[in-house]
């Protein structure tokens, strides 16, 4: 739309734009190519999960939670399971904890590979996506073998995990990790050290470091400002406190810094997975005895649980009322603040051509906003 003064142009970036990170739209006021104002619109994928869950038993709700964020279902499963376990007082076995860490780290690597495809596509480097999606598929193959599903796994359940590891699974996981490690220098040459990407990404989408913590930013948005925050270290869960890994940070606060943090995080996840292969107990129940599904009553209490997803801290608030149904489950992923408060601010004075790149760098997943 062209305004009366023929100067400000209003356009909608998305929800069908190829550079958009999902079903959302950003309303942009432009003067020339420069953005004057940005407003986020969501609601194109509102499925009412939080409402649906209030009417379902645990096993019925369990099939929904993984769908809250399509590229990253596992942190949702973990949060859901840990919240129920916390309310019901269930302690899972050491072996189940290791298996969950394995699943979560595999999911992190897969999510970073998918991000790499999107981020490179936003600057016109299409080849990277072909490689990274292939490598992600190698992990999805493992997920399929372990859980029966490639994208939605429905594997982490209150009380543990649903299935024992298939024979030779850890060896096959090791081979995939070898392959990813071998591939990383090629990704460096093609993407992370690529002069096109550097020219486009350095100095773009700069976050105000002084406000980053107070305004509730998480994940790479924080670590790309040199601020070391990660739930796995700050508020450890499962067996993360038994594992040796670093929280990579990068100075710069821009798109490039966030990309380099992600690159380092793939390396750290591989390191964690190798330790899991070494340290995972050979014996132990994978699932604790829990009440029968229709008789599983959730105590009247509430809880908050957090998991570090590939894009940052993922919170679940859950309240029970003594019945078999969850009274309230409220999801808060990284995208709520990144997609609104932060994105609307970051886009001002940026070029139109940088919108997709900035959005990708923040790891925005619209389904988790409108859940």
């Amino acid at each position: 739309m062209i305004a009366k003064d023929n100067r400000v142009i209003k356009i909608f970036h998305g929800p069908q734009h190829p550079g958009i990170t999902g079903n959302m739209s950003v309303e942009l006021d432009l003067v020339g190519e420069t953005i004057q104002k940005a407003r986020t619109h969501v609601g194109y994928l509102h499925r009412g999960f939080e409402k649906l869950i209030e009417r379902r038993t645990i096993i019925q709700a369990f099939t929904i939670v993984c769908r809250i964020c399509v590229p990253e279902p596992d942190p949702n499963e973990e949060n859901f399971a840990r919240a129920i376990e916390g309310l019901a007082g269930i302690e899972i076995s050491h072996r189940a904890k290791y298996i969950r860490v394995m699943v979560l780290e595999m999911a992190r690597v897969a999510a970073q590979m998918l991000w790499m495809g999107g981020q490179s596509g936003s600057v016109g480097l299409g080849t990277v996506a072909q490689w990274s999606i292939y490598d992600r598929d190698l992990i999805l193959d493992l997920f399929e073998e372990l859980t029966g599903g490639r994208v939605y796994h429905m594997y982490i359940y209150p009380g543990g995990v649903r299935r024992e590891l298939p024979d030779g699974f850890l060896e096959r996981l090791g081979k995939v990790l070898d392959h990813i490690e071998e591939k990383m220098p090629q990704y460096d040459a093609l993407f992370f050290e690529n002069s096109t990407f550097k020219k486009r990404a350095i100095g773009v989408g700069i976050i105000d470091k002084d406000l980053a913590l107070k305004e509730g930013l998480v994940g790479q948005a924080l670590r790309g400002c040199g601020i070391k925050r990660d739930v796995r270290k700050d508020n450890p869960y499962l067996v993360y406190d038994e594992l040796d890994f670093d929280i990579p940070t990068f100075e710069g606060c821009d798109v490039y810094a966030r990309a380099m943090v992600r690159r380092a995080e793939i390396k750290e996840s591989v390191k964690i997975l190798r330790q899991v292969i070494q340290k995972m107990p050979k014996e132990g129940e994978i699932m604790q005895k829990i009440p029968k599904h229709r008789k599983f009553k959730i105590p009247k209490d509430d809880i908050l649980v957090s998991t570090e997803s590939a894009r940052g801290e993922f919170n679940y608030y859950m309240a029970g009322d003594g019945t078999e149904k969850i009274r309230r489950m409220q999801v808060k992923g990284p995208s709520l603040i990144h997609g609104f408060t932060l994105l609307e601010k970051l886009l001002v004075n940026e070029e139109l051509s940088n919108v997709a790149m900035i959005m990708n760098s923040l790891g925005i997943c619209p389904p988790e906003i409108e859940r």
Binding site: V42, G43, H46, G48, E50, K51, L52, E54, G86, L213, K214, E215, G216, R229, V231, D234, N235, D302, I303, L304, S306, E313, N315, Y317, A319, R327, R328, Q330, K332, L336, I337, F340, T341, I369, E370
Partner: protein, 181 residues
């Protein structure tokens, strides 16, 4: 830090890193200001709401996180579901991220946040009936009232009835075959 807060509030320790304070609505701003200025719970990470329709209240939790992100504090308060007393002041002046959280709660529960001027559509569009996360909102009734079946689905049958019919047919067929034998 928790020790300092314990001098002023009754704190429930839900776990080693999760604490909860129950306050009255009248103490809301005073408490938030006090904690914001005197503790390292500097980030508002979430505002949650639970509808206790049987008690006619909404219970809200303002979840604050420390600068180190190692502890969470839930500040819980209940407000009436209807009427003048159901309004709350906005927290925009303390936390810019409250804007989107309050917008979300306004849309899903109908809670008014005094001072927040952006309480317009969030995920829904032109919603003019009961806010959907209120317990009295009936999703199925809403869908049946608002939407029609697509053309070509007029033969849409109840799954349970159809399953019964098919089983009965299969039984008949089996019986016929046995008679022939």
């Amino acid at each position: 830090m928790i020790k300092i807060l314990k001098q002023h509030y009754e704190i429930e320790e839900k776990s080693r890193r999760l604490f909860k304070i129950h306050i009255k609505k009248e103490e809301f701003l005073k408490t938030l200001n006090f904690i914001g200025l005197n503790s390292n719970f500097i980030t508002l990470s979430q505002i949650t709401c639970t509808d206790w329709i049987e008690d006619e209240v909404f219970t809200l939790n303002y979840i604050l996180t420390t600068e180190q992100r190692d502890k969470n504090l839930m500040i819980a308060l209940s407000i009436p579901r209807e009427g003048k007393e159901s309004k709350l002041p906005t927290l925009l002046y303390l936390f810019p991220q409250a804007e989107v959280m309050e917008r979300d709660l306004h849309e899903m529960y109908g809670i008014e946040f005094i001072g927040n001027k952006t309480l317009f559509d969030f995920a829904l569009e032109n919603w003019n009936t009961t806010p959907p996360l209120r317990r009295e909102f009936d999703t199925l009734a809403y869908v049946n009232e608002q939407f029609d079946f697509r053309k070509g689905r007029e033969d849409n049958r109840d799954v349970k009835v159809e399953t019964k019919r098919r089983r009965a047919e299969a039984k008949k067929l089996k019986a016929k075959k046995e008679v022939k034998k």
